[in-house]
Every structure is written in structure tokens, then in C-alpha cells.
Symmetry: C2
């Protein structure tokens, strides 16, 4: 069976009684969306403030291959495994972006027997959060052009509008457009473009805000444009942030669904892992910690991007502190890092594996030493993995004194992740994490970028394109205390995706910086960043259909 | 108190037990969205097929003023009134468009003590139907450009793509754009633009389809573009309709909410009343008829547009047959039709009223004689209406033998509409409706347009711009059996909004025709039609906010 068939075959439990039984949220504090999804009232979550927090576990990974290495699947499997051994555990995930479902990727709600359900709902409109985020974003866009059209009291320079529009669809034709054509009734023509909703700064703000009040405050801080004199114009000056908050008020309540084994999953928010920080909402993570003893969460891409931003942006800002991390690897991906072609990854190849392990080793070192988080390595198993290969991984990692656990949740659900769950519980007891940030707020923006590049990516230096240098100097004045949010290709520690394994001595070139004044970070763009994906030649949309019984097919 | 304050002050009942108690839908056949909104399973609605239908009542109106004459308010008030006198009545309304909430209009869920609640939800994202419709539309848009980008096997002429994009926002800057800029990776540049979601043909299809199967079939029929040789290209050829149906599968289930008096309201679908037919979904109307003895519904704009399309498109296609209609008028609007300036409408003015009554008379004649529907006139009361004015209306309409009823539901809820409810029940018993279409399927498209213009608008003739004539001749070959869907300004029977009252002998100029092959009608555009509104200088968005207690303010 493929993922969607496994998901559709599942006997789901009604979510309201399930949540009530598992974590005691009273029925009137939940807002059901159908029978299998619910939102939780923010008032209820506020009432938990005095409760002790559970243990936060970060699931991160090696540098991914385009197929992914199974972070979501492992997060779900580990949560089911923890519940299997009698622990009260909840998983906190990002909401999948709808656009990519119709492109290459298909669904993004785990895989095999480690999935969250209802799978189709989660992958499609879910509880409408992304639609609300998209609309809030586009309301601000409309208000900008409307302001210019009706007299432009704020003096916005229409060449300097940095706030684009968004759509939750892979639509390359909208990447660069000219808007406002057709004469005076349609406003002033100007260059514009659309990003995918997950790339919106509203999404990043939504995921970092700890309350509705903070959400509104940060929305007001968004810098949307500059005047001819280069003065920043904010959403607050356009009186947009109140209405934007109204559009987001329901979306901001965390969503709860279940795993295939009936354990609870908070799925809330989903900022792009390149130009934003790639983690689910702070609100959901904090809520889960009040409601469970173990909370498993993930961060986008490999540990160089995901864990780095999780620590330096999400944890720094929110006060969250992970107790342990799991670095996920597949033997396939390690062989890929050792130079094996995609077609040959299912064959045993000890030499390539040995070479590729350098990637895993560097991620483990980063997470454990640079961030100070106690770490387990999980091998997300495939049926063609050989014992010799597994033995090699364990042998080669022995010098790091890190436990390597095989996890078979994809095929066996929570049962397949019992060993991993036990290892995680044990390391939390035995080896307390002492989280450290790799730079302080007081460091300059350049120093922050250098810390990330040199300490985490193993780079020798960072260079800045000429224009960028000036822009950074200007940003340093007002926003120097913000963390950096690095956008780079996720497939290599370097900015060059072909440099696999653990390249050393490379140069990180920063070609652009962007202010995210509402999200409160500065985006450093190294290499190309795609904020609006395109559809492939044969998009998944062509096969996605409703069959005669009303079942969704082709979404996998 | 203003509308939103009255709505927020209401003690709502939990929707699931309310629906169960009122019309017996079993709990497991409903899908709650929060505690006060629910969708109903299509399987359940299918199971009602053998039940007898209740009585359908159409609420329509005189030619509106920009302020509106209270059709929605009267529909809700009449429903509450019918329940007040012991009848089992449900109201079927359109879902409001989100965009206009942030522009001029504010909310659109009735007014005063005749509202549907939860008002904020209904006006904002509601159950996400419009977001689903927008996305299904934009998926098709993305697939068109993607098809051209990846080799264009179907030979689409990119100058002849007629399928635009949509957004649920008043955003004039997107009316006309150039898309696909920025080089080969972003596709081929071409002229494009955005309409508001309610103007999407997907919305019209959604509202006319009687089943998911028909929905998918009609989506496949959408003509999106033509080849260089002028061969039509459909959504089916792009293999888009399956995935579009998947995006719409939940939206297609009707929504139920309640009136302030705890009676039930189906709110589902909301096609633009100008370029589409302006009625709620056939699915919801049919469902309500199985579940209640009286079903009150409305159609957009005055009876020349709304009732005409309700009869000639919705009833013709669906088999629905109204038993009676209510033509709503306000004395304010009648005086406006009699030439009074907006500032003076609250003053008594017998002469102007007498002149303006011509508008009401013609609508009554149209509905009763042209369509054959038994008719009551409802005066939607304002506090400044005088007895002399009311007496005049009754006297002047005496020759038509139509009952004129004052209705005070805005101020008094259902109690204020008891007389109207009694009149409606009585007319259904006493005067059976014999619905007739004003043209047959077999008439030519030109004849159909002429029938509408001459029989309903009181026009002398219809003229067609040169290009349009040729296009109609071409459409006649393949689509001659479709009804016409006229787009014209709603403020006058003529195409000229300044011709108030009941102009005669005017010429209707058709400047454009558009094929809606999925919706199965031909749009005849007379005058300007705005498919993407703009925001006013001081948009409602500026005042809409969340107050400190978490209440929405400024949405009225």
C-alpha cells in the first residue's frame, strides 16, 4: 500500500473525546473542524501557564537528498514509540504547503506506518490557516497599492515596495509581474511578484509570536516599502495590522490531529525553511510542552539550516530549550554523500558509505558541540539496508561516543521506534543539555553570519557582494540586535549543492540581505532562493482525483 | 447598537444539537466547524431524495440604491417570521465575499435583528469554501502556464488564454498585469489579470452542480484558451478537473448556521450577481427543501437581474420551482428612484415617492406576469417612514392587486415579519405559481437576449458591437442551447445607471460576450462590468480590529 492507502485504511478516533481522554482538554475549549481535527482555545492554553514543561526533543537530519530523509516520519514514529513505552508524548509538526501537493512532492504528513491523519485534509486545506495567512498578507499588499492610488500621503516610492503578494500554489508565471496596468483606474504600474504562502513574512511572524497581542504588534512592524528619501514605511502606518490580526485570529489557535496509532499531533504553522526559520509555531510547541511529558518537534532541512535556526531564532526568542535531539540519516543518503548515483543507492556500497559518513559526523558535532544538545543518531531504515552497512556506521561513529539506533517506524509504526524512544528517554536522564547559541545578540550582523558559516558550515570565510555590504551596514544601525536567518541550498554544507559530504575551506557568498522587521530577523541569502516554486512537466495534479466512492487518489 | 454589536450580543445555540432538534440530521452526518457552523454530509442529503419538497420562496427587490434595500435582511426576517407563526422554515443565502468586507461594504449577513450568526465568521473565512474555490481556480491557471512552459503539446495560443486568476480581495492593481516576466525560467510573458473569487466560473459551476460527479464534469468542460487555429482548449485536456474536484470536495457540502432567533440558515456559494447568476448553491436549496416546509432564498440585485437569472438559469437547470416571491422595497429607495438626493431620503416626499413607484410596479409585473410567480411586496421599514407614504404605496399598487406588507424585522426580528410571513403562507395556498421561462432553450442566443431586454428591462431593442455579433454567431453553433447570463449595471432597468424609475424605449448595447462552458451559460455584457473591485480611499480595513478582549470591531 502507498502512503495515502495506509492513511485511508486507518480507523481514526473522534478527535474531541481522544484529546479529552489523552490530555484532558475540556470539550468546550476545543473547536472541532469535522470529526478528526480540532483547534484549541488560546484562553485554555493561557490557563496552563503555571504547569511544568515536558521534555522537548528536536528531530533534525543530515544534509538531505532531494527525496528527503524522513524527519517528519521519524518525528511521528518516535512519538508513537514513546507512547508505546508508556510515556505521554505529543508530536509538533509544520502544516504542509498546499501548492507542492500538486507539483512534484505529493503529501507531507509522514510516511508508511508513521503518519498523521486525516492525511488528505492535512495536505489540502486543513483548518484553513494558510488561507488566512495568505489573505492577511494580500490585504496588506492591496492596502499598499490602494494608498498610493488614493494620494500616497505616506510618500511611498513605488519603485521601492518590497512587500510582494502570495498564493498557495506553485505558479512560476507569477514570480515576476507588472501590476497596475490598464490605466488610471487600476493604479500605478509597478514591478511586483508572488511568493508561495509559506514564504510570507506573515507566516514567519505567525510562527514566532507568543500571543495575539504580540502577533498584532509584529504585523504592525512589517516594513513594506521605503519613501523616496529611504524612510521605511510599515504596516502600522497603513493601519493594516488590526484587520490582518482579525483575519488570523482563528488560525492562530493550534490544531490537533492524531497519528495512525492514535497519539496526538499538534500541526501548526509552516514557514519556508530557507527564507524563514522552518519550524512549527511557538504557540503550539509551548502548548504541547504543558500537556505532555515528551514533545517531539522537527525543523526544516538538515541540521545546518534547521537546527541552527531552531536554536538561534526560535529558542532564542521564545525561551524554548530542547532536552535532546535526534539526527536522522538514511543509508541511502549517506551513500549519496559518498558519491553513489541515485539509481544505485539501494545496493550495498561500504566504501561510499564510509565517505558519506563525514556529513553525518559533522551534523552530529554541530548539534552536540556547537549547540550543546544531547544527541542520538537514528537510522531511518529501508528494506535494502545491509547489516554490514549498519555495522560500519556504528563503528565509524564510535569515536564520537554517540548512540546509533536503527528505527523501523516506516514499516512497523511505533513498535519500530521503541529502541529509539528508549534511547531518547535515557539520554535526557543521563546527559543534560546545556543549550548555547553560537552568537550573542550583541554581535554584529556580519559576525553572526560568520559564526554560522564557520562554526556550522565549516566555511573558511564569508564574502558579501558590494551592494550587500552597504545594506548590511545600514541594517546594522537599526536592526543589529536581530539574529540572522540564512537562506542557502540545503543539499550541502556549502552554498554549492554539488559539494557533498563535509566540504571544508569553502567560501560563503552573501548575495542579498532582506529585512524581516516583523519576524525580527535579517535574511542572508547565499546563492539562489526560490520563493515561488514551479510545477514539473507532469504535475501530480494530473493524477490527483476523486474516485467514484469519493476517495482521494493520487496524493502521495 | 450596530450590526456587529447585536450579533456579538446574541446567545448562540450549539449548532449540532440545534440542527438535530430542528430538522433531525443525525450528528454523525454533520461536520462541525467550531461550535456554531456545520457542514452536512452529501450522502445524508442523497438519502432524502424521496422526501417531498417544501415551498420555495424567492426574495427579490426593486432596482437597488448603492446602500442596498435589505434582501438578505428580509430573507432572514421572513424566515424568523415563518417560524414565529409555527411553520418550519429555513433560509438559504449566499456566502459573503471576503474582499468587500475590507472595502466599503462591511459585513453582509443581514442587519439589525434579522441577521445570521456567527456574523464575523460568516463574513470572514467562514468554512473556507471560497478559499477552496479560489485555489481550484488558480490551480487551473497554473496548469495552463505550466503546460505552455513545458512544450505546449495542446498548442495553446498564449494570446488567447481567457482563464484569468482570482483572489478574494479588492485589489485593483491586479486587474491587468503582465505575467511570466523575468526570463525563460518563469515561462512566457503574457497579458493576464485577477478577478475576485466570486467572479470565478468555478464559483458559478459550484453553485449550479447538483452532485460531485456533475461538478467534476462541468469543471472539465471549462474552456480556458484557444489554439492558433481557434480550437477551444478545456480544463479536461489539461487533466485539471480531477484535482480541482479534490480541492472542492469538502466545500461542496452545504453549511448550516443560525439566525439570531435560532432558526436555521443554509449559507453556501456566492456567485457574482453580474457576470454570474447570483444565487446560493442548488445543492443547499434542494437540501433545505427536503428538510423544511418553507425555504426562503434570495437572488442578487433587483428582480431584473436576480429573479431573471434565478428563473432562467437556476430554476431551468435544476428543476427548482418557487411557489411565491417577495419583492422588497424601501421607501428611501423609491424616493431615490423619484429623483430625491441621497441626503434627503429620510424626509417625507410624497411626490417623489409616487414617481419612484414606477420602478417597483415594473418589477412586480415582471415577477408576477413574465415569470408567473405569485408575489407579495414587502416594505422594509425605516423609522422615518411616514404613514402617508405607506398609504400612498398601497393605494398606487392597488390596481396591480398585489398585497403590500410592512415588515419591521430589522428592528424587531421575526416578530416584525409575522404579517409578511402570514401573507406569504396565504398566497402560496391561494394563488398557485405557474412558473414560465421568458425564452425556450431552442431560441437563438440573440433571441434570448432580446427577450430579457424587451420583456424584463422594457427596452426597445438590443444592439451588438460589431465584433460581438461575429462571436455570438460562432457561439450559436456549439452553445446555442445555453441560457444567457446578462451583466449590466443593477441600478437601472436600462444599461445607464442614471435612468431611474422605469425607463422605456431604451436600447441595450451588448459590448462583449463570454462563454462559460462549465457553468453552461453565455455571459452578455452590457456596459462596464467590474470583476475585480477596488478599495476606497478610507477602506474598512483601517477600522477593523481585534479589541483587547479578543472581539472583532469595525466590521459592519
Amino acid at each position: 500500500m502507498n502512503d495515502i492507502e495506509i492513511a485511508q485504511d486507518a480507523k481514526m478516533k473522534k478527535i474531541i473525546p481522544l484529546v479529552k481522554a489523552k490530555i484532558g482538554i475540556p470539550e468546550e475549549m476545543m473547536e472541532p473542524y469535522g470529526h478528526y481535527k480540532t483547534k484549541v482555545s488560546l484562553d485554555y492554553l493561557d490557563s496552563l501557564a503555571d504547569k511544568e514543561d515536558g521534555n522537548l526533543i528536536l528531530v533534525t537530519a543530515i544534509s538531505p537528498t532531494p527525496a528527503g530523509e524522513g524527519k517528519t516520519t521519524t518525528s511521528v514514529g518516535l512519538t508513537d514509540g514513546l507512547n508505546k513505552i508508556g510515556m505521554k508524548a505529543i508530536v509538533c509538526l509544520r502544516e504542509p504547503s498546499l501548492g507542492p501537493c500538486f507539483g512534484m512532492k505529493g503529501g507531507a504528513a509522514g510516511g508508511g506506518y508513521a503518519q498523521v491523519v486525516p492525511m488528505e485534509d492535512i495536505n489540502l486545506h486543513f483548518t484553513g490557516d494558510f488561507h488566512a495567512i495568505g489573505l492577511a498578507h494580500n490585504l496588506l499588499s492591496a492596502l499598499i497599492d490602494n494608498h498610493i492610488h488614493h494620494g500616497n500621503v505616506l510618500g511611498i516610492d513605488q519603485r521601492k515596495v518590497s512587500w510582494r503578494r502570495v498564493l498557495d500554489m506553485n505558479d512560476r508565471a507569477l514570480r515576476e509581474i507588472t501590476a497596475g496596468l490598464g490605466g488610471p483606474n487600476n493604479g500605478f504600474p509597478r514591478s511586483d511578484g508572488f511568493d508561495i504562502v509559506v514564504a510570507s513574512e506573515v507566516m514567519a511572524i505567525f510562527c514566532l509570536a507568543t500571543s495575539i497581542t504580540e502577533l498584532k504588534h509584529r504585523l504592525g512592524n512589517i516594513v513594506v516599502a521605503h519613501t523616496r528619501e529611504n524612510v521605511a514605511v510599515t504596516a502600522r502606518e497603513l493601519e493594516a495590522h488590526g484587520a490582518m490580526t482579525v483575519l488570523l485570529k482563528d488560525a492562530f489557535k493550534p490544531n490537533i490531529v492524531q497519528t495512525l496509532e492514535g497519539n496526538l499531533a499538534f500541526i501548526h504553522g509552516g514557514p519556508f525553511a530557507n527564507i524563514a526559520h522552518g519550524c512549527n509555531t511557538v504557540v503550539a510547541t509551548k502548548a504541547a510542552l504543558k500537556l505532555a511529558d515528551y514533545v517531539v518537534t522537527e525543523a526544516g532541512f538538515g541540521a545546518d539550516l534547521g537546527a541552527e535556526k531552531f536554536v538561534n531564532i526560535k529558542c532564542r526568542k521564545s525561551g524554548l530549550r530542547p532536552k535532546a535531539s535526534v539526527v536522522v540519516a538514511t543509508l541511502k543518503a549517506l551513500k549519496f554523500h559518498g558519491g553513489v548515483a541515485v539509481a544505485d543507492l539501494s545496493k550495498e556500497n561500504i566504501q561510499a558509505l564510509e565517505v558519506g559518513l563525514a556529513n553525518l559526523e559533522q551534523h552530529v558535532r554541530n548539534v552536540r558541540e556547537s549547540f550543546g544538545i544531547s544527541t542520538i543518531v537514528a537510522i531511518n531504515k529501508f528494506s535494502f539496508d545491509t547489516e554490514a552497512e549498519i555495522a560500519l556506521v556504528k563503528k565509524k561513529l564510535a569515536h564520537l561516543d554517540v548512540q546509533v539506533v536503527e528505527a523501523d517506524h516506516w514499516a512497523r509504526g511505533g513498535e519500530g521506534a521503541v529502541e529509539l524512544a528508549e534511547a531518547v528517554v535515557k539520554i535526557i536522564e543521563d546527559k543534560p543539555t546545556d543549550l548555547h547559541f553560537i552568537y550573542e545578540n550583541e554581535a554584529s550582523l556580519v559576525e553572526k553570519m560568520e559564526s554560522v558559516a564557520m562554526k556550522i558550515y565549516g566555511a573558511e570565510a564569508v564574502t558579501f557582494d558590494t551592494k550587500v555590504g552597504k545594506k548590511i551596514a545600514k541594517l546594522q544601525e537599526d536592526y543589529g540586535h536581530y539574529p540572522v536567518c540564512v537562506a542557502k541550498n540545503p543539499y550541502s554544507f556549502s552554498a554549492d549543492p554539488s559539494k557533498l559530504g563535509a566540504p571544508k575551506g569553502h567560501i560563503v557568498k552573501v548575495r542579498e540581505v532582506r529585512l524581516a522587521a516583523g519576524a525580527e530577523f535579517i535574511v542572508f541569502i547565499c546563492g539562489d532562493v526560490m520563493t515561488m516554486p514551479g510545477l514539473p512537466k507532469i504535475p501530480a495534479a494530473n493524477r490527483i482525483d476523486l474516485d467514484e466512492s469519493g476517495k482521494v487518489v493520487g496524493l502521495f
